[in-house]
């Protein structure tokens, strides 16, 4: 693709005029009580070739701001009530829909938060790209196709020609996000708005997407408006940053300045909350503490059926011979890229998926269980699911849901259960007034805390936290981590912590296991893994973590553009197991080969 810039609107424009200028923007939602502002008096400029980051906690109005720029505020309730948005010398606010349509995609493009749902599931990638191009350029289908292919190559998607004919569900999250970027960049827009482009991706993929954005910006000179709550991403990507909170701008400035000397207390708190590698607290390996959970040669396979008799033809080897011990009072972390089998182990421990091999929690062997044994197991171990929204029943009040385990286990009466639910709510930092609210009325972080409260209701011996903080913004994340840590100390609960965020893992763990394709490739104490990573895969994971310091220089990592490694094998196939070798006491590494 050529590196020359698309001429900006109008010849009369001075080179230093901002491409995008937002002045006093106010967006309000119409409610029964009148207009309720969502964002107030937002102003910022975006210069050519610049990256401006908008950071801030969840619900601060970041997405609303970007949607206002695109003219895509959800009708009819939400609309712009004041201020103006200018693209070059054209005013976008109040522009009639057909004209606005010509601007969208062509001059301003947007990448949405959710790569999984932002592409039309029933259209091929190619069609979606081509139609975007042809909506703005009167060119033939063949020409548009060529252009689309170029765009796909530009985002370094492997086998672009084949991808053109594929459907979104056939691509991984990272690949879909690249398609979104290709689509946004195919028309060489002046401004690219990226709303949390990497939140849903795991570290290694996040790394690649960020690199890609930077490269494209360098070659096209596109101005990027980057929305994120990850301060690491801000530090790495942005030239300037806008900090938002509750619909207003708290602070604006150059990235270096803000990180070095934040002016507002909120910004200071935000930055303080960012977990950084190498800042882990005391780690206390407890080799003598009693074993709470014991896994021996655990294996989980999912059958894929087919054929006339619907017999098993393939199997997903999700977990392949995993053995580990979790001791009382310790935090054991499991890390690894998406699809490596972390959640499956978690589910096997609580008996949600059938397994072979031995899993013992306390004195309870997990397997085919009677209803009574099931209940006893649930009293001993609890899981906090990856997605808190999905794990709560949307049609039951949170109070009832927190009290439900007590009800199931026949503890206390209605009033005492409610009192306990109220106490738990307070323990996780929510108010008792919210007991009768429904899950959708809470923010993501709050929901996660509700899940924690529910998990604590039975005071289990082991809590499994599956990616419990990945989707939260830093300030909330810090609060939840603190909470988990204090609960662990208070009740002596053991914790299996699953995450792909190495910084968080380093902060919270006592011991760490690294998983790859269903097997553990390295296990040891936090110090051993982070201080002396042995396996190539572990090293790559470490390198992918963004550093929340604009001055830090990350060494270049080799880029991959391949698929997620595939754990599917034909039925009956035997998968080679890694041989583990002890490096130092308690630090085991898979022997390469």
């Amino acid at each position: 693709m050529s590196a020359d810039l698309k001429p900006l609107t109008g010849a009369n424009m001075a080179p230093d005029t901002p491409v995008l200028s937002v002045q006093d923007l106010t967006v309000a939602v119409r409610t029964q009580g009148g207009l309720l502002p969502l964002i107030r008096n937002i102003s910022f400029d975006l210069a050519r070739g610049e990256t401006l980051a908008i950071a801030g906690e969840s619900g601060s109005g970041k997405s609303i701001t970007s949607l206002a720029i695109m003219g895509l505020l959800p009708p009819p309730a939400v609309r712009v009530t004041g201020g103006c948005i200018k693209l070059g010398d054209r005013t976008l606010t109040g522009m009639p829909e057909p004209e606005l349509r010509a601007v969208r995609g062509n001059r301003v493009a947007m990448i949405f938060q959710e790569p999984m749902t932002s592409l039309n599931p029933v259209m091929t990638i190619g069609t979606q790209l081509i139609e975007a191009i042809r909506a703005h350029e009167p060119i033939s289908r063949a020409a548009a196709r060529r252009q689309a292919l170029e765009a796909l190559s530009a985002v370094r998607l492997s086998e672009p020609t084949r991808r053109m004919g594929q459907f979104p569900h056939e691509l991984s999250g990272g690949m879909r996000q690249r398609v979104m970027i290709a689509m946004a960049l195919a028309l060489k827009p002046d401004v690219l708005i990226a709303d949390e482009p990497t939140t849903a991706l795991d570290v290694t993929v996040q790394r690649e997407v960020l690199d890609l954005l930077r490269d494209l910006q360098a070659s096209h000179g596109t101005a990027i408006l980057l929305i994120t709550h990850d301060m690491g991403v801000v530090a790495e990507m942005a030239d300037r940053v806008v900090i938002m909170r509750k619909g207003v701008i708290e602070e604006t400035g150059r990235v270096d300045d803000i990180f070095a000397a934040p002016q507002q207390p909120y910004t200071q708190a935000l930055l303080a909350a960012v977990p950084r590698m190498g800042q882990g607290g005391r780690a206390v390996p407890r080799p003598d503490a009693p074993v709470v959970a014991e896994l021996r040669d655990v294996q989980v396979r999912f059958d894929l059926r087919g054929g006339v008799l619907n017999r098993v033809t393939h199997r997903v080897h999700a977990v392949e011979g995993v053995s580990l011990d979790i001791r009382a009072g310790e935090t054991f972390s499991l890390v690894g890229e998406s699809g490596c089998g972390k959640s499956t182990i978690a589910r096997a421990i609580v008996g949600l998926v059938p397994h072979t091999g031995l899993i013992r929690v306390g004195d309870q062997t997990v397997g085919t269980m009677t209803a009574q044994a099931r209940k006893r197991l649930s009293a001993a171990t609890q899981i906090i699911f990856q997605d808190p929204m999905a794990a709560l029943d949307p049609r039951m009040t949170v109070g009832d849901q927190i009290a439900e385990p007590l009800l199931i286990h026949g503890t206390g009466d209605a009033t005492s259960r409610r009192a306990r639910a109220a106490a738990l709510m307070e323990k996780v930092g929510l108010t008792t007034a919210q007991l009768d609210n429904y899950p959708h009325e809470f923010s993501g972080g709050q929901r996660q805390r509700i899940c924690i409260a529910r998990a604590l209701a039975l005071t289990p011996k082991l809590i499994i936290a599956d990616e419990s903080v990945s989707a939260l913004d830093v300030s909330v994340q810090a609060r939840v981590l603190d909470l988990l840590r204090s609960l662990k100390d208070e009740f002596g609960i053991a914790m299996l912590f699953i995450s792909h965020d190495m910084a968080v893992v380093e902060n919270i763990s006592d011991r760490v296991a690294v998983m790859h394709l269903g097997q553990i490739v390295e296990v040891g104490s936090r110090a051993q893994i982070f201080g002396n990573p042995q396996h190539a895969y572990t090293k790559r994971l470490m390198a992918a973590v963004p550093i929340a310091d604009p001055r830090a220089q990350r060494p270049d990592t080799p880029r991959m553009s391949g698929d997620i490694p595939n754990p599917v094998h034909p039925a009956g196939a035997i998968v080679a197991r890694h041989l583990m070798q002890e490096v130092t006491s308690g630090h085991m590494v898979a022997v390469p080969g």
Binding site: S58, L352, R374, R395, T397, P405, C451, R454
Partner: protein
Amino acid sequence: MTAATTNTRAVPESAWTRLRRRKMAMFGLALVILIVGAAILAPWIAPYDPFEQKFDGLTMFGEPLPPGGAYVLGTDLLGRDLLSRLLYGARTSLIIGVVANGIALVIGTVIGLTAGFFQGWIGAILMRFTDLMMAFPALLLAICLAAIFQPSLWIVAFVIAMVNWVQTARVIYTETSALAARDFIAAERTLGASTPRILFKHILPHLVPMIIVWGTLGISTTVLLEATLSYLGVGVQPPTPSWGNIIFENQTYFQSAPWLVFFPGAAIVVLALAFNLVGDALRDVLDPTLRGSD
């Protein structure tokens, strides 16, 4: 989400309070009450005996009388007062449209829910059975059952329930399978919740919107199905009136005596609509994600 949580309501409103605020729902409810009331009070409010073939109810040539005059909605082909027959017919039609349809919904829900939740061989057997019933001509089944058992209102209601559960079962099955795979159900399992608890406390409430949609659509179809059965001679036996069989008895007269088709037809539409208004509102009110949007 912060903004949304700041205006937390301290006292949650009951579903009824919220329902009461909706004008259309209240209108629908009023209609339902009106119809049910009319059905119950038929003997007191009907101007004439619904079975009496009035001497002055037909013209010399045996034609029914049009609306107006002594017979407000006109008379039928036997010279009976149409209004009185409609009022009494409401009883039959309510039993068919509400009770029979309700039983069908319950059967469909139970089968769909069981099959969708347990999958495995129970699910397979139930769904194959459902497929079989779907492939089986409902009308033939109805005719045979009714002929074997001798038609009466309750047999007819039973027959209608027997043929009408199939579609509901299919739809509920699909929905339940999807629900059962969701994380919050897994969460319930890890909490040690019993199967009945998961089914009734956590899955069933999510099926309510679907049940309401099929239930309200089912009202008019079952009322008409009863009429078809009457037409085939296996429905509610004459002279018992039902809205459906009034239409069917007189449908060939739609040109010469349109009132005989129009009024009962309108009654069915109003009944279905009334339940729909209430159902729609109820669905919204019971859906906590829509709370505050009213």
